[in-house]
Symmetry: C2
Subunit: 230 residues, 2 copies
């Protein structure tokens, strides 16, 4: 009985990693659809979000089933409850990737992002995808230092977000209001996506240490390949 | 033992109602701070959000403690797990109210919202507060019809959001980019706040029926006092 139980617990972890993998891929593809005005990719991201939602429902059902039948305590209980929260973060991340793709579709065949912001949005998209890949890794590795690292990595997203606003509020902005609205929303989607990746990592910290990540101090470093030469 | 247990379960429900009451008040006050450019109220909303966060942490600790010590099954298990999710919705709603207040503070002594959008933003703020008040009610009453009603009520928020975009994208928009960015974000905050109120209500439906609200059909009515004369 105990064996089937731990298998079930493992399969919840695998479900989370699968969700993280899917939404990481989704944000990368959504960014491509946005910057290339690629309708097909946009449609595929929008359609694929259903798979993420299905996975979440399955995972939740399994977690609740496990609580009811096995009544785990201590660490195991913490794993199940924390998994429920992670799955909510991941489901929401999928929604945000879908929002980006929907904006790409709405503006097709135009591109919603003006040329002088392509580099910033590309970096936001890449960073979002990388943060989610790291989150998936720490779900597996349960490495607290790596998990805490995500919060420092996320500082770069805040910088990029500020860059975006600087462009928007610059007197030389010539792309009109509609594009300003689009860029504002897209910036918000990436920022929130990154927040959810960080949140997943923080929940891993809680899982392992029993303490909330905010009470621990992350290592003060940033992602080198991103900050270089900017 | 059972008595203390049900008391504990009840106290979780009371905690949720208290959270809903606090965030409902917060969004109302945040709207006032935004429209009146009232710095004191803005500051009070920002400060008060800590209380919501504290309540959530307490509530979660109590819920997990209950799972560990009492190992509830069936309906009681559903109540505890659903309460955890509701508390996450409510905590996030509090963040969104704080975002509105922070924007009011950022633009003080100016007001972030131009005069011709005051009525729309006021209605969004009032609707958001009303939706949360209804959500708090259905947490107590567990009335499925009332809970399903929130989703129809939320249609009005979508309409208001569209109105906001129509203003923004109108050729006669004369408030510049910064205000367009502010209005875009504020619109998003209210819309998300309303989504979380609807989500709380849907979780009540799940609690009572064991079915997800999307699988049931809500009554097709709208809030009369809001739609009248618009």
């Amino acid at each position: 009985m105990r064996d089937a139980y731990h298998e079930e617990l493992d399969s919840i972890g695998e479900g989370l990693v699968e969700m993280a993998r899917l939404v990481g891929s989704a944000i990368g593809r959504a960014t491509t659809s946005l910057l290339d005005a690629d309708l097909k990719i946009a449609e595929s991201v929008i359609a694929a979000d259903e798979k993420v939602d299905d996975l979440q429902r399955e995972l939740e059902a399994r977690a609740i089933n496990l609580l009811a039948r096995q009544q785990p305590v201590a660490t195991d209980l913490r794993i199940v409850v924390t998994s429920l929260r992670m799955s909510a973060d991941l489901e929401r991340s999928g929604d945000l990737a879908r929002h980006v793709a929907k904006l790409a579709r709405l503006r097709f065949p135009q591109t919603a992002v003006p040329g002088d912001l392509h580099a910033t949005i590309l970096e936001m998209g890449q960073l979002a995808q990388r943060l989610m890949a790291k989150a998936a890794e720490v779900i597996v590795s349960k490495d607290v230092d790596d998990a805490l690292q995500l919060e420092s990595d996320d500082d770069r997203m805040d910088e990029l977000h500020r860059t975006l606003f600087q462009h928007l509020l610059d007197d030389r902005w010539q792309h009109g209001i509609e594009t300003a609205v689009d860029v504002t929303l897209v910036g918000r989607y990436y920022e929130r996506f990154a927040d959810h990746a960080v949140s997943v990592a923080k929940r891993v910290v809680y899982l392992v240490t029993g303490e909330h990540a905010d009470e621990l101090t992350p290592a003060p470093t940033v992602i080198p390949e991103v900050t270089e030469g900017k």
